[in-house]
């Protein structure tokens, strides 16, 4: 599977072949030509990831309802991004911008501001990537592979084919990733309740567990003060995502918000 995906990454340069891959917008934005479905897979693969799969379920398991914030967070993030996206895309397309920093430089006529935006974008994405690597490490460990070397190798290959093919690489691989994720989720949602005796059983058991724990903030529902935390966590996450992710939609027409 790993070999297959890596090969796919390197071959991605051939997909929707560009005249000149050396052009920055071919590399960085896939030629601005990704259609709706491709973008849907790309953004889906981008958004629903180690964080969604490992970190959030862990939170729900440990603390109950508050971990569910991830659902309202993703619900609100799309309308928010949509609002800004239309403008960002049409202007970027006309002027040939590749990154939000370009847009900022033109709009506010300040290279300093653009530089700050670029730096912030890079720095803000770093913890996110670190988290992805931790997620990979956890998965590998569960498979029995320990140590840092596998991570380094995996990351090196990722860097190599992204360097080579630009945005096309993650886009193509997103197809594979999303398919796998769909498969896992559908199976989990059907098989787990079946094996454990139904949703009633599962929530009942959870309720008992949380009732027995000393922490007043956990539970199958949100306790009083926790409600505000929940709402602000969802909203804050949406804002964070919004500021680090507005670059990827610049690669395709606005018909991508859903």
């Amino acid at each position: 599977m790993f070999v297959f995906v890596s090969a796919l990454g390197f071959l991605a340069a051939r997909w929707r072949k560009a005249e000149d891959l050396e052009h920055l917008d071919e590399w960085g934005l896939g030629g601005r030509n990704f259609g709706s479905w491709v973008t849907w897979f790309l953004i889906g693969g981008d958004l629903y990831t180690a964080y969604t799969f490992v970190a959030v379920p862990a939170l729900v398991f440990g603390a109950g309802a508050i971990g569910f914030f991830a659902v309202p967070y993703t619900v609100i993030v799309y309308p928010m991004v949509f609002l800004v996206l239309i403008r960002l895309w049409s202007v970027s397309h006309v002027h040939g911008f590749v990154t939000p920093a370009d847009f900022v430089r033109a709009r506010h006529d300040s290279s300093t501001l653009a530089l700050l935006v670029a730096i912030t974008g890079i720095v803000a994405t770093m913890p996110y990537i670190a988290l992805q690597l931790v997620g990979i490490e956890a998965v590998l460990k569960a498979m029995g592979v320990t140590g840092h070397l596998p991570i380094i190798v995996a990351f090196a290959i990722l860097a190599a084919y992204t360097y080579n093919s630009g945005l096309r690489a993650p886009a193509l691989i997103a197809f594979v990733k999303d398919t796998l994720i769909y498969l896992v989720i559908i199976v989990a949602v059907i098989v787990i309740p079946y094996k454990l005796g139904g949703w009633q059983e599962i929530f009942g058991a959870a309720e008992q567990k949380f009732a027995a724990s000393p922490n007043p903030a956990d539970g199958v529902l949100l306790a009083g003060p926790v409600q505000l935390q929940y709402a602000t966590l969802a909203f804050g996450s949406a804002l964070a995502l919004f500021s680090t992710r507005t670059r990827s939609p610049a690669s395709s027409p606005p018909a991508t918000a859903t």
Partner: protein
């Protein structure tokens, strides 16, 4: 580029549309009315209201975005 991109945008349309207010609905439905759905009943196949309502809210978000998109495109 010194000129404001807004002024060189040749399309007459403005991005301000009353439809954009509809984009607030998902926000309201998921966060502002939180105390209203923070409960177990009515449940769907054993799943408490809190959970399945928020999953259903995904549909609200999608519908709103879709409507705004359709109504505001040229």
């Amino acid at each position: 580029m010194a000129d404001d991109p807004a002024s060189t945008d040749r399309a007459k349309r403005s991005d301000h549309s009353p439809w954009n207010w509809l984009l607030l609905l998902p926000l309201i439905a998921t966060l502002l009315v939180l105390p209203l759905f923070n409960r177990v009943s009515p449940d769907l196949a054993g799943i408490p209201f809190f959970y399945w309502y928020q999953l259903a809210a995904i549909g609200i978000g999608v519908a709103c975005t879709l409507i705004v998109y359709r109504m505001t495109r040229r």
